[in-house]
Structures are given as structure tokens and as C-alpha cells.
Symmetry: C2
């Protein structure tokens, strides 16, 4: 083992990994998310980490962040690998999947997908090069009922609640309301104004006002745009508030009906958790109706913890059918890493073991193995200590790993089994066929 | 939607994905594997998909298959991405992980890891460019007790049994037996002979005999090497059989003690499932004692379904400590894809939903949503139909997706709920607060 042979490993910026006790918490999170998604009848799929570059760049977005693949010792003249890249989200692969398997799927198709994605971005707080997303989407042929605009945020609300996060709100808006309102104001290019309004987080109301006037809006128009963006409320009452601004258009009416339906449907949820927020714009051009964005209340600058919305034609780049959809994506790594950094992830033991069976002596090793088998057969996670060491050493091992019980098979025939509760120190007789924690 | 805009998606060779009903089975497999690993006290970790090339090539093996990463529009002069590659197995990342977090882990460290890996190989039957492996390893400082040589195959036996696979055997050998036997025969380079013996699957006994004579072995030596390779048996009796060949060396004795211990420890497992097979060599140089290889009995040419063994110093490339280990890796994708191709994966419904709650009319939509909430609160996976269509259409949807029960909330106040069993057609009164399938 000379110095030269040792490659000292170092973390790679933007790629995170956790110690076993932290991973254990993350795994429980993933279990709960999956359970909630399935509780609402969503089916799991996974897609390869790799897509063809044609597919990844079909929408033209974030393409500079795509990681392409090349074999280490590939023939430089062989370009076959160069056509492959790692997916940068789960929406594009989902659209490709639906188009590719169109004839084998049943619609409306409700799926969830929990996978890693990769982006070659400059790492910074909340931005990773590899991270896990948990996506839920409904896609249908020709149209998607408004039912789902209300059901999707209800599911995400349940997920975020079950994770026990610090205070957050799931903010809802509707692009038709924005676009219809701007049209009612006589603005010629409402989409350009949506893009400007989306900068509220970055430049504030004053900055947005400035940009709007630069874009040719009158002071009155810009003022009304800002008035709309200030409206925020936990129920369908926001619709009346918007009405009081005195702007009208057919698209605005349609949008207000939709937003009112969604907020009324969610009226039973705890106050402040799901909020209509007219400042939310979600810059992406493919959203056409309801849009969602979740934020931590205590860290408003941290970026969204979930986001999504309704798109008129998700898979249009891949199939000549109209396939609208609606979905939401939870930024699992972004949420988890923030809580970990803030010291808010409470870790438990370093192993899933409930019982460590001690080995009293080499001769009675078989007894320990049989005891462990009996406990495992009853669903109890059980380790046998790996050698007949002195008992102090065996207890020390259980303590280090946070194993809550140590089991002592009899040291001689005819004696009873005993089990020690490591938290209280109490040691009592026990039967491997009936004992429970 | 002009023709030019549509990128028709096609499968990429070597990358597989499944329909929802198939993924559902794969997910159940993964759940069962994880449950069994945890039942024995192994802790989960995950490592990034990406490692530095220094780490990936530290052992020098399979390096030509490594996929390296490059951002799509990276500055050609910026070489930072070129130092990253996708991991090609889970053993190298595990070794790096242990070295990197050495001071924060407790030993013996028992971990499982279930992740995708990538290899830029030519795809063929049983060989994929992206596949999932399920690895279980124990690593310790300075030495790993022989206990684990018997426990690891017991765990894998339990996993493979629970998956309900077509007939297979888990074959065990010990490199010390091979090397010690060859030394006892007076062979000068036993490692070279191990590499030749490893070709038994490919060239048969005659071919191996030929190669041995080319390597300078006498006819008698080559004959003895082949005699040893023919020995196969389900219990510690193989040790006596090997003894009868009349070859002796200190290393052989040590190897026979270990092999005898492992086989005796596993004597309670069903006959033929775990077999000592002296023809197994596992070419990889880092194995030093017990080696494992699982095979389908009906498809002996298909390649191993799991493999592993004991290595004297796993993380030696990354840390100046001696860290021996022992582990086994299940080739999940290889097994699953084979069974799927053979028509042996029995798929169930296309969704996890147990109950579809119908919507009798738009006015009574709230009743349907409340009914679904009551069922979900009791842990029942429940969908509400997405609009107030005619009931035939709603039943048709349940039928298509394989949803076993359709729930009818009352069409008017005061009437009872009813539930229809889609398999039998029976429709009975039910209470959402107490009903179960």
C-alpha cells in the first residue's frame, strides 16, 4: 500500500450522499410519498436515466445543462454514444414514454415517478447536479377534467403534511386569469407580461413595475398588473377580490371559474396551507391553466419545494395526438438537504435491526442462529452477533449501532432466554416464539 | 403539429423500461429484497450515479465500458466534466464510500445498496447498458469473521426463494481450496490456473484440459485439476471427496475448513439450492476465499443471476487501512428481464387502486369525494372517477385498469352506499367506515 496507489476520495460538488442513519430517514420519506401517491390510485413507472438527445432537446429548454455520455475508450469516429444524454427532469421522459407506449396505456393515465435527474449547473444552495424528484401527473387524450386541478394539490398537500416539514404554503394561480386580465387591460402581448410578472421574486414589485413600463405599458396598466399580483387568499373569495379590480375579458372569466372551482374544492384543508396567489406566474411557456408553486415560509428565497401546472399538449413533440396533462413535482433532494443543513432531520439508529442475538459461546452458536431465525420468521429484524466474543463487546456493538434490544439465548440447556432493553437496562425472561418489542 | 416537429420515440438498445403493470411486479420484488436485507440487519445506503474517473478506474477493470459525462454545450477547453463517469457496479462506489466516511461508520459495517449501474457494452441477451443491482456486503477493519461467509448466502437464498424464481442453485467454492490444491500438485502459478479453470463454462472440460497443458501442466496435474472441478455436492461431504484426491497443502487445509464450515452452517436449507461446486472460480483477482455464483438450472448458458465472494482488501485503493469484506450482488434486471421474456412474470392490475368511487351526478360529487377520503383514511387505495359520466363508462374504466371494486355513494339522501365486486359482479350494501375487501 504505497502512497501512490491511494486515491483519496473527496465529495464531488453538487452530488450528495448520506450516512446510513440519514439515508434511513430519506427512505422513510420516499416510502410515505409513494404510499400517498398510491393511496390516490397513481401507478408507478420508471424510465431509463438516459434518453436520446433528440428527445431531451425537443422542447429546447435547459439543453445546455444536459450531460451527454461517451464511453471512456470509445473510438473517436464512433458517434453513437454522443447521441445519448442523462434526463434533466421527469416530465420529458414521461411525455416520451406516453407517446412510445400510447397503444398499451389506459387513459386518463395517472402515474408517479420518483427518480434521480441530472443537470450540469453550477452547484449552489438548493441547486444540485444530481437530485431526486417525485412527480405525479395525469395525462389524457384531448382533454383533462378540471377535477384533477383540485385533486393534484390535495395529494401534494397530504404528502408535504405527512413529511412534517417546517411551515410551507402551496400557492396556486391560473394562467388564464393572468392572460385574460392583461387582455382586459388592453395589453397587446400578455405572454411577455407574464414573463415579466414572473420576476416578482427576484426584482420585487418596483422592479417589475419598471420592466412593465419599459415594455410599453401605461402607468395605469402597470398599476393594475401589480394590483392583481398583490392578491393572495386562502379560499374562493379571491375571485371576488379580482372582480373588484373592474377588469373583464372572456378568458379572465374562464380562468376565474377554474380558480374558484379549485379553491372551493380545497376549502376543507387547513387554513394557509393552500393559497391562491396571483403573483405566481411560472415562466415556462407550456403551462396554460392552473399553476402551482410550493415554498417554505421561513426561507422565501430558497426556491420552490414543488411546482407544476396544467399543459395543453405535453407529448406533442413525440406523437401526433393532443395529450394534455396536469402535474406537480416535489423537489425531494432540495427539501431534504435544506432540512438536514438546518439540523431539522432527526436521525435514529444506524441500522434497521430491532434485536441483536448474542452468542454465549462458540458451542452454542447454533442456538443463537435458531433464535434469530425464530424472531425473523415473526417479522422482527434480527442480527446474530458475528462471533463468540465476551458479552461486553457484544453489548457495546448494539449500543454503537442503536440496536434497541439484545437477546441472550440460554447459556446451558434448560435455562430460559433473556432479553435486555438497551434504553432502560431492564433484562427479562422471554420466549422467541411470542416476544414482541 | 407538422411532421417535422414530431420526434418519433424509439427504444434505445440496452436500456429497458416497463409498462405500469410490469413495473408493479418489479416494485414488489424490490420491496421483498429490501425487506429481507433489513430482516438481517443490513442498512441501506445510496451513492451518486457519478464518481470521479480516478475512483472508477482505480482497479483498472472494465474501464473501457465506463460512460463519461460532458455537458452538451460545455466549453471544449473546460475539462471539469471529463473527469466524471457513471458507476459500472456498486462495489467500487461502496469501497469509496467506506473510505470517505471511515470515521463516521461503525464496523463491521453491513450495508445493502439497490441502484442502477451503467456499462457501455454491446447489448445482448442478459447484458444491458443500464441495469439494477441489489448488493449486500459486510466490511470490517483488519478481518471479517467466517460467520458472514455462511450468513450472506443464507440471506440471498431467502431472497431468491421469496421471489419465486424458476429452479436455480447458488454455487459456492473457496479460492484457497483451488489455490491450495494447485500448490499441492506442485503447480508454480496457481493464479494462472484459476483463470484457466474459470473458462469451464465457455470451453468445457476438454478445452480447459487443453489450455492447462499449453500452460505447461503435466497430464497428471491437468487431470487432477479437472477431477477437482468435477466435484459438486450439497453438503460438507464434498470436503471428504476432495480429501480422496490425495492432494495436500496448508492452504488447501485452510480452504477446506472454511468450505466445510460454510456448507455445514447451511445444511438446513433445501437440498440442491446451495451447492459446493469446485468448478466455480470467479476470475476476478480480488477474491481470496469463499466465492459465490448463482445460476438458473434451465438456462445454464444465461450467465450468473448473482455473484460475489470474499476480498482481502476492498478499499485499499482509497484508504491506508486494511478493510476486508464479503458480499453478494443480485443481478435484478438480468433475472427480471429473462423471466419477462420467458412469459413467467404474471402481471396484475395496471393501477394500485382497490376501489373506484363512482360519481352518481355532478351535484353529488362532494359525497363521492368524502366517501373516498373515508376509505383512504382506513388505508384503502381509492380513486374518485374524474367526472359525472354515465355509470357504464365509469365501470368500463375500472374494468380496463383492473380495479377490483366500484363504490356507489347514494344517489339521494337516506339511501345506502353500495359496492360492486368486479370479479363476481355481486353488488352489496356497504359502509365506508367499516367495509373491507
Amino acid at each position: 500500500m504505497s502512497d501512490q496507489q491511494v486515491v483519496r476520495p473527496a465529495p464531488i460538488s453538487g452530488f450528495s450522499e448520506w450516512l446510513p442513519e440519514v439515508r434511513r430517514v430519506e427512505l422513510h420519506w420516499l416510502d410515505r410519498i409513494r404510499e400517498t401517491f398510491e393511496r390516490y390510485g397513481f401507478a408507478n413507472i420508471e424510465t431509463p436515466a438516459v434518453e436520446s438527445l433528440d428527445v431531451l432537446t425537443a422542447k429546447g429548454e435547459t439543453s445546455q445543462e444536459v450531460y451527454t455520455l461517451r464511453r471512456l475508450q470509445a473510438d473517436p469516429k464512433d458517434g453513437s454514444d454522443a447521441k445519448l444524454g442523462l434526463h434533466f427532469d421527469l416530465t420529458v421522459p414521461f411525455a416520451r414514454y406516453v407517446a412510445q407506449h400510447f397503444n398499451e396505456l389506459d387513459f386518463p393515465f395517472k402515474r408517479y415517478q420518483m427518480q434521480r435527474v441530472w443537470r450540469g449547473e453550477r452547484p449552489q444552495e438548493g441547486r444540485f447536479r444530481e437530485f431526486t424528484q417525485c412527480d405525479i401527473d395525469v395525462i389524457n387524450v384531448d382533454d383533462v377534467p378540471l377535477h384533477f386541478d383540485a385533486e393534484i394539490p390535495r395529494i401534494i398537500h397530504e404528502v408535504l403534511t405527512r413529511l412534517g416539514l417546517p411551515p410551507w404554503s402551496l400557492n396556486i394561480n391560473n394562467r388564464k386569469v393572468l392572460q385574460g386580465f392583461y387582455e382586459g387591460l388592453g395589453i397587446e402581448d400578455p405572454i411577455a407580461v407574464i414573463r415579466i410578472a414572473d420576476k416578482m421574486d427576484k426584482v420585487g414589485a418596483e422592479g417589475v413595475g419598471e420592466l412593465l413600463r419599459q415594455a410599453g405599458l401605461s402607468a395605469e396598466q402597470a398599476g393594475a398588473v401589480l394590483d392583481l399580483a398583490r392578491i393572495r387568499g386562502g379560499d374562493a373569495g379571491v375571485v371576488d377580490e379580482i372582480g373588484k379590480l373592474g377588469v373583464e375579458s372572456p378568458l379572465l372569466s374562464e380562468g376565474l371559474d377554474e380558480l374558484g372551482f379549485v379553491m372551493a374544492s380545497l376549502a376543507d384543508l387547513p387554513s394557509g396551507s393552500v393559497v391562491a396567489d396571483l403573483s405566481i406566474a411560472r415562466g415556462l411557456d407550456y403551462y396554460t391553466g392552473t399553476v402551482y408553486e410550493g415554498k417554505f415560509l421561513d426561507w422565501p428565497g430558497y426556491g420552490s419545494i414543488c411546482s407544476g401546472g396544467r399543459y395543453e399538449n405535453l407529448a406533442g413533440s413525440f406523437i401526433r395526438r393532443k395529450l394534455p396533462g396536469i402535474g406537480l413535482s416535489i423537489g425531494l433532494t432540495r427539501i431534504f438537504a435544506k432540512l438536514l443543513a438546518e439540523g431539522l432531520i432527526e436521525t435514529g439508529p444506524k441500522s434497521p435491526t430491532a434485536v441483536l442475538v448474542a452468542i454465549p459461546s462458540q458451542e452454542r452458536r447454533g442456538e443463537s442462529i435458531a433464535t434469530a431465525a425464530a424472531l425473523r420468521a415473526r417479522g422482527i429484524n434480527t442480527e446474530v452477533y458475528h462471533q463468540a466474543s465476551n458479552l461486553k463487546k457484544q453489548l457495546k456493538y448494539a449500543e454503537k449501532k442503536g440496536i434497541p434490544f439484545v437477546w441472550f439465548p440460554p447459556f446451558e440447556d434448560g435455562k430460559a432466554h433473556e432479553v435486555k432493553d438497551m434504553a432502560t437496562g431492564a433484562q427479562t425472561e422471554a420466549d422467541p416464539g411470542t416476544w414482541s418489542a
